[in-house]
């Protein structure tokens, strides 16, 4: 279909991931939208949290040509700085990234119009058709760019694509309802039930999230709940049993588990962040930990399985 130019708003896209296997049925393309209302301590995509464009710098790729410095209108490139970019001055205009020959400087977040993004995802249409796959919107939190998300999902549906969304659930209920007609599947993150803990570890209250979870089940939306399995933070006996109780109360008996990976830690330095996460977040989740979570869920009568496939015994 043609997107009407007046409706062709733009959204800030972090990344487009093709041949995604765990974000819904079949072969999928996952579009990550930038910006998130939560800031989970374990967030594996720290570059997705800010709703504004950013600039990343990978020191190991830099060949020292200083093209970036010449290109920068804000005089924000500091060769004697450990981070190279003076984040206070940088306006994220992207000139350095454009000029950097080795892609050491790179833009984090790129604007796409609905039509351009649709064109991008439609390139794999043959694969979706054969496999029963489609497009998954993820983030950040896609509902944060609500108008764009709604328009894009509509456009996907009009193009006959299967659609899914990955949401943390922190959105106005009305907004979520508006998306429902254009969604074939919703992957809804349940992180922590205890509201104090939730506030402490994600920076936001969870009342709205839990209410949305209940609402989606009640209106029989095609929702699958998922838990990011983070050592000690979410993967503790108390939280899991509370999640179990919550799920049973709303009448759900299944949950998908997303094992924690510590891969993101390097990304902090790309963004010039010097903070380092607590020790328990610096190593990947082990199979034993994952298996024990599965076990705890089964004691609650909940069938939990890893979205990444079978777990090799180690």
């Amino acid at each position: 279909m043609d997107v009407h130019p007046e409706n062709d708003m733009t959204g800030l896209v972090l990344d487009i991931q093709r041949y995604s296997l765990d974000d819904g049925p079949g072969i999928r393309t996952t579009v990550f939208l930038k910006g998130c209302p939560l800031s989970c301590r374990w967030c594996q995509n720290p570059e997705s949290i800010s709703p504004a464009p950013e600039i990343g710098f990978r020191a190991e790729r830099c060949i020292g040509c200083r093209t970036c410095q010449k290109a920068c209108p804000a005089d924000a490139i500091m060769f004697d700085n450990a981070d190279r970019i003076d984040r206070g001055r940088c306006t994220a205009c992207g000139a350095c990234a454009e000029g950097c020959p080795s892609r050491a400087m790179f833009a984090v977040g790129k604007r796409y119009s609905i039509s351009k993004l649709l064109e991008e995802v439609k390139r794999d249409a043959a694969f979706y058709e054969e496999s029963g796959g489609g497009v998954t919107l993820s983030g950040g939190e896609p509902t944060l760019q609500f108008d764009f998300t709604l328009a894009f999902l509509k456009a996907c549906k009009e193009a006959g694509l299967n659609t899914a969304i990955e949401t943390n659930g922190l959105a106005a209920s009305d907004n979520l309802r508006k998306l429902l007609p254009y969604l074939d599947r919703i992957y809804f993150d349940l992180k922590i039930i205890n509201s104090v803990e939730h506030q402490r570890l994600t920076g936001a209250d969870n009342r709205q999230i839990l209410e949305n979870a209940r609402m989606l089940v009640e209106c029989r939306a095609p929702v699958d709940f998922r838990l990011p399995v983070v050592p000690s933070m979410t993967a503790n006996k108390a939280n899991i049993s509370e999640i179990g109780v919550f799920l049973k109360k709303v009448g759900v008996r299944e949950i998908g588990l997303c094992p924690y990976h510590e891969n993101w830690v390097t990304k902090l330095s790309w963004l010039g962040r010097r903070d380092s996460p607590p020790a328990e977040l610096q190593k990947p989740l082990t199979s034993e930990e994952l298996l024990s979570v599965i076990d705890m869920f089964s004691q609650e009568g909940i069938n939990a399985r890893s979205v990444e496939g079978e777990i090799a015994a180690r």
Binding site: L21, G26, I63, P101, D124, G309, E310
Partner: protein, 813 residues
């Protein structure tokens, strides 16, 4: 692809032994023992064949070469020391040592002379040879062939231009002289249905029918005679095994073994002289026929054809009526597979490197449509796959043909095997292959009956090749073109005078480049005409001719054009590198006019020394084949279309079709070493893109984009085979769903996008380790992590270690 470089590199001896450990646990003890034995056996040399052929040539100086060779072969099979091991139920070996190579000095002797001292010491693929064997080889065999082998003769007749191109590795002439020898559509069914006695009768009858005034009378007579002698040679070998089995029965260790030996005696008395009646007879007949063929060719790539078609009737009737159980049949088939691992090839060292650890490839073809166009998959196709999974050996190489109506279960069995880490097989698209052959004029039945012949080269029914007769090094041609005909690095040979490549538009530039490419192609075709003439004169092949349709009717050896249909393939090497480089020139010189051509040439000549910034920009900011960017994909497509047009203008020496191939084995590594820096940012000496694939590491958007780029090429125009090898980490196949997604990807690539071939290398630990050391070369290595496929090189060290640990687990699964 190779059936490909990375796949083959996993077959060094040590790896074979570890593969042995990884194989299925419930092999029968005899199979496990035989498998273990062949895995551990050192490589040796059998001189019998070279000795007897040399003698026959010396002793019959006045007889035609076909007769000399047939006599030599027959004598070799008469003198070859033979044995039957305690575990064997199928008798026969092509040499007297467990794992050995026979030598073909009449084909190419120079490297044997030069490298004889080194066989035991070279870096890879060492061969043991005793001092006495060395002496005999040097004094009695090689001395005779010095400067007299067919290859020497062929090269001495080539033009200076060809020598220049060959010396600079802008082209490589193979044509059954060196390296790959992808053969023909061998009619094993004929052996099973008529037996060699039937073949002899047929030859005799044809000889009797030669008209007295036939101008080709003498040639025909000696052709038929050579077929008869060669056939007698194979029958003679079988009866020796029969006698040996019979004699051994009385001293057998057990009553059961005595009974088995008596069975072997009976079977070898009957086949391959007479038609086969049982499954075991059929396997025995094919194996002895193979041994016969291996005596008279370079023997490197003798295709086994559609085993699930010609063996199925015997299997079915034995199972239905003869009391054969499926597991007995499986065991026999496993033994049959093991045997091919005893056959090895002593190659020229340079060529050995190209083959990257795997010198011989005996390929069997499974599945696909029958001559009637309907699905021909049968119960034996599944049995054959099961045996492959159980054996996990380098031979036979397994090609599976798929079409839109292939049974779901067969597709699943195939994709399971492709993704389980065995890395032993590859798949082909019937739709594209059949169209490719009919487009060239093959009748539909022959087109549907194609087999794979070693790597990725198809051969239709009733056809003689070789589909892999020369390589044209695309990037080297660009280097020469940009530099007025002179190599930019390692100059050897004379300069050619080419006009300056300076042009006012890309269209003009591209036109001049393709003119040059045309001239190279035409010279290569001329060179191959000379090669074919030498083949005809010095290397007739009576045993193979006996088994290729058309020869008996025509009264001509295959090398004289006796086969019903003929083709010769020329491969373009490095299409990804070439397309990326042309796209870069187009963009920066003509579209954006940032630089002029002289500047670009200057960067290349300097190997980018002092131009790292420019190189990085070329690498990172320009369109690259493999990302579904039409700007560059269209160039790859155009080059294929162009070469197809040029090839269509001529017929081969044997009046066959010229066909284009896009595969590289490991040539992209070895030939890349002498190619200057390229405008795509590739430094001097680095490997080129492999097969039909993108430049390694440049397909940044994942497998679907890479496949869409490759599918831009019209593969019906690439009938000499295009290899598409993808690297995956085992984590991407961690559950049945993801294997299913892979199957969907494969089907999309084949039946919606028109892909021809796909092979998956499940990247092993070694690859992952290399990726840690050289991340820049592994940008395309995807692993499954955090719910999606991630690039391995983007992971942190501990996660990489974690993935390595995981992949080690899965790879053996």
């Amino acid at each position: 692809m190779t059936t490909t470089a990375s796949r083959k590199s996993a077959i060094d001896d040590s790896e074979l032994i570890s593969a042995a450990v990884a194989a299925r646990g419930d092999l029968s003890p005899r199979i496990a023992r035989m498998r273990e034995q062949v895995l551990r056996a050192p490589r040796e040399i059998s001189l019998v064949r070279a000795r007897e052929v040399t003698k026959a040539v010396k002793q019959n100086p006045d007889r035609p070469r076909a007769i000399q060779l047939a006599l030599g072969m027959k004598e070799a099979l008469r003198k070859l020391p033979i044995s039957i091991s305690d575990d064997e139920r199928i008798a026969g070996a092509h040499g007297e040592k467990t794992k050995c190579a026979v030598l073909y000095p009449e084909v190419k002797s120079d490297f044997l002379i030069a490298e004889l001292q080194n066989f035991t010491e070279r870096e890879t693929l060492r061969f043991s040879i005793t001092d006495e064997e060395k002496r005999e080889l040097r004094e009695e065999i090689l001395l005779f062939w010095k400067n007299k082998s067919a290859f020497d003769d062929m090269m001495s007749r080539q033009s200076e231009d060809i020598h220049f191109l060959v010396d600079n590795i802008a082209i490589v002439i193979q044509n059954d002289f060196n390296g790959a020898n992808h053969l023909a559509h061998i009619d094993y069914e004929k052996v099973l249905q008529k037996g060699f006695e039937g073949i002899i009768d047929e030859a005799k009858a044809a000889m009797a029918r030669i008209e007295s005034d036939d101008p080709e009378r003498e040639g025909k007579k000696s052709f038929y005679t050579s077929v008869i002698i060669a056939s007698e040679g194979v029958i003679g070998l079988a009866s020796r095994y029969s006698q040996l089995a019979h004699a051994s029965a009385s001293g057998a260790t057990s009553h059961e073994r005595a009974q088995e030996l008596r069975e072997i005696a009976e079977i070898c008395e009957r086949v391959p002289a007479k038609p086969a009646r049982t499954f075991q007879e059929a396997l025995q007949a094919v194996w002895l026929t193979f041994i016969g063929i291996a005596q008279l060719d370079v023997g490197q790539e003798i295709p086994l054809g559609r085993v699930d078609q010609y063996l199925y009737p015997y299997y079915r009737s034995d199972v239905e009526e003869g009391g054969l159980t499926r597991s007995e049949a499986l065991e026999l088939l496993e033994e049959f597979y093991i045997k091919f691992n005893k056959v090895t090839i002593l190659g020229e060292y340079a060529v050995t490197k190209v083959n990257d650890g795997n010198t011989s490839r005996y390929e069997l073809t499974l599945g696909g449509v029958g001559k009637d166009g309907k699905d021909a998959t049968n119960a034996f196709s599944y049995l054959a796959l099961e045996a492959v999974n159980n054996m996990r050996l380098i031979s036979p190489n397994v090609a599976v043909r798929l079409h839109p109506d292939s049974p779901e279960a067969f597709v699943n069995a195939t994709t399971n095997l492709m993704t389980n880490g065995a890395n032993v097989m590859h798949v082909f698209n019937d739709e594209v292959m059949v169209k490719g052959a009919t487009r060239l004029g093959w009748p539909i039945q022959a087109a549907r009956d194609y087999v794979l012949t070693g790597c990725v080269e198809p051969i239709p029914g009733s056809t003689y090749g070789s589909p892999c007769s020369a390589f044209i090094n695309g990037p080297k041609i660009l280097e020469l073109f940009l530099n007025g005909g002179r190599p930019m690095i390692s100059v050897c040979g004379d300069e050619q005078d080419l006009p300056s490549p300076k042009c006012s538009s890309f269209a003009e530039f591209y036109g001049k480049f393709t003119d040059y490419l045309r001239s190279i192609l035409e010279k290569t075709m001329d060179a191959l005409d000379i090669a074919c003439e030498i083949q005809k004169r010095l290397l007739p092949n009576p045993i193979l001719s006996a088994l290729i349709d058309g020869t008996v009717e025509n009264g001509k050896d295959i090398k004289s054009g006796g086969a019903r249909y003929n083709l010769l393939g020329i491969d373009l090497l490095g299409i990804g590198t070439l397309a990326d480089s042309l796209a870069a020139i187009r963009k920066i010189v003509y579209d954006e006019r940032q630089h002029n051509l002289e500047e670009v040439v200057e960067w290349l000549k300097s190997g980018f020394r002092g131009y790292e910034k420019e190189r990085q920009r070329l690498l990172n900011h320009l369109p690259k084949y493999g990302n579904n960017d039409p700007y560059v994909d269209e160039i790859a497509k155009d080059i294929v279309d162009f070469m197809d047009e040029v090839l269509k203008e001529k017929r081969t020496y044997r009046n066959g079709s010229w066909v284009l191939g896009l595969h590289s084995e490991a040539h992209h590594v070895y030939q890349g070493a002498i190619v200057a820096a390229m405008p795509n940012g590739r430094p001097e000496g680095e490997m080129l893109s492999a097969g039909a694939g993108p430049t390694p590491g440049m397909d940044r958007e994942g497998p679907t984009s890479s496949l869409r780029s490759m599918a831009t090429i019209d593969y019906t125009k690439v009938y000499a085979g295009a290899s598409c090898n993808m690297r995956f980490n085992p984590t991407l196949f961690s559950n049945q769903e993801s294997v299913g997604q892979f199957a969907s990807m494969l089907k999309t690539y084949f039946f919606r996008l028109g892909g021809q071939h796909l092979q998956v290398t499940v990247a092993d630990t070694e690859t992952l380790r290399k990726a840690q050391q050289h991340p820049e070369k592994y940008e395309d290595l995807f692993v499954r992590i955090a719910g999606y496929s991630a690039r391995f090189i983007d992971l942190t060290k501990p996660t990489q270690e974690e993935v390595i640990r995981r992949s080690e687990m899965c790879a053996c699964g």
